[in-house]
Symmetry: C2
Subunit: 336 residues, 2 copies
């Protein structure tokens, strides 16, 4: 997929989205009825197999799974919105590169291809409570970093993030895209106490007042988004272009897509919710997206960790769909 | 573990259960606080790591995972409690052995060691609506088949089952062990319609009236249990003896343990609920057991399928607990 050379490129893309193949979906649904199990008894695994067929065609697969992480720094950390210092973003990127973070352990255990993209960590975005996060050029660069990161040969894509302060950015994007105020979307993030969450909500409200009501997705990301959030939005667009199904992670990874959804509600049709995060706004956000999470394990780490774990469910759906015998082939009696 | 030579052997075992090691749990909890993530942010993965340490010691592991399936036939199928003919039990065992069932696909994808134990399929148990399911000797044999099936060298054990008619058996065991009537525990099983479920509930009520109120676990299994259910109860006991953590599957696999829980509430302390089945009684049963399921994917197949998939969560817990860097080792700043 070509990079966006101007803001209108995103709007143009969102206006003409690739669609799933209904005939491949029907063939997959028919096969599910023939496998040696009571109809429907594999539950969401059956629905996932049919979903994958719509994007991949009848021969579904989940061998090559890419996990792409984007990291960014945020001027809004000056407002005391995180208990961790902003230096931790770069330290955690070093930890990713050294193999010591949770996502490294998960990617190793599950056989996922992990890549990490640190986006101008030495140049935090503008403090959104007083100014735009990015210039037009910076926002385009961030979107395009996401587009460039997607391997078109991936069977499934997991997107994740790291960025001290980015649950504040995420909450602002949700509020402006889907409605509500700071208090509706602000959560504890990496571990704020109650007073910290109240402050965070006020910071978000100041950002919303400064930014004004929602415009198009690009303008919203430029005004309120962080680099890693814009990159995740770009990656989801590129995956759609290449018909690569996406597993969404938690609050920040999903919030990055809220501006896209506000402009083009079908943009998430190639996405599944990997998990429901314990971060406060995520359950509400998934309801807005009309997505049922595959996992609900009280995780709230980011890094793509919940979605990475959910790849096991995707692979189970593929393994049963492609590996099981049919009633006919196995000589098993169907219902009387 | 030695087989039970008489019914009192089970009661004796249930009266003196091995307990988890509190110091290993404490050490695991301390390590979780030091890993490079906000405290608690891995949610249930952290709790699983601590749980495993209690049974396995500080060096937790989940490489060797055994899936053991037990199959049995049930005289109660004469009462029209399943839409499938009882011949399907044997046909599905052949399908397991040929590698064509859902559990084969899942075990293959996840690298699990699958073994299948067909228990006297040519001799269905007594029709519980009119007579005891088993003699004392038959019930001992079934329990001991479960004990013998457990590999003490397994890191984690998954137990599952196959048996046309066994959701009726399961519902009867739940009702007599935990209270309620047939209508409280009967569900659609492999796909009964509403009239079928009503009939099933009446059959269960006749079995309950014949059998009388709950006695000890052995007497309950003898009166109402099927061979594969008694075997699963035996396997859970053997796993406890060997300190092997168990992942529980769905309604039937859990119902097999209801008589044990009624006699010895701590018997499931070495067990986690792999998933919540869509079969009607399972959510209620897990509440009785005070277990929160790892997965909730609307599955209702049996065969250990839900628990098999949940092994991915267990392995993720081990991978993060053992593989992550600490704040100190990675040079990441902890909270300010």
């Amino acid at each position: 997929m070509k990079p966006f050379s101007q803001p209108a490129g995103l709007a143009s893309f969102l206006g003409a989205l690739p669609q799933p193949d209904p005939s491949a979906r029907e063939a997959a649904a028919l096969r599910q009825q023939q496998l040696t199990k009571p109809p429907g008894s594999l539950g969401m695994l059956e629905q996932i197999a049919i979903f994958l067929a719509g994007w991949q065609g009848p021969a579904i697969h989940a061998d090559r799974i890419q996990v792409t992480l984007f990291a960014g720094n945020h001027g809004v950390t000056k407002q005391g919105v995180s208990p961790y210092p902003p230096e931790v973003t770069g330290q955690m990127v070093a930890n990713f590169n050294a193999g010591g973070a949770a996502i490294n352990a998960l990617a190793g255990a599950l056989g996922l291809n992990l890549s990490v993209h640190a986006l101008d960590l030495d140049r935090p975005t503008g403090d959104i409570s007083v100014t735009d996060a990015m210039t037009v050029e910076e926002a385009l660069d961030a979107l395009n970093a996401g587009i460039a990161a997607v391997d078109p040969a991936s069977d499934v894509l997991v997107i994740g993030e790291m960025g001290i302060g980015n649950t504040t950015i995420a909450a602002a994007l949700c509020a402006v895209s889907l409605g509500g105020a700071g208090a509706d979307w602000a959560g504890a993030g990496t571990g704020l106490d109650t007073a910290g969450v109240v402050n965070k909500a006020r910071v978000i409200d100041r950002a919303l007042a400064r930014s004004g009501s929602a415009r198009d997705a690009f303008a919203t990301l430029k005004s309120l988004g962080g680099r890693e959030l814009a990159a995740m939005a770009g990656a989801v667009c590129a995956a759609r272009h290449h018909r690569v199904p996406v597993l969404l992670d938690g609050f920040v990874a999903c919030a990055a897509l809220a501006p896209l959804v506000a402009e083009s509600p079908g943009i998430l049709d190639h996405c599944l919710a990997g998990h429901r995060s314990a971060e406060r706004g995520h359950a509400r956000l998934l309801e807005h997206f009309n997505l049922r999470p595959l996992l609900d394990l009280n995780m709230r780490l980011g890094e793509g960790s919940g979605a990475a774990l959910a790849t096991a469910v995707i692979r189970a759906a593929v393994a049963t769909h492609t590996g099981m015998a049919t009633f006919d082939s196995a000589g098993v009696s169907d219902r009387g």
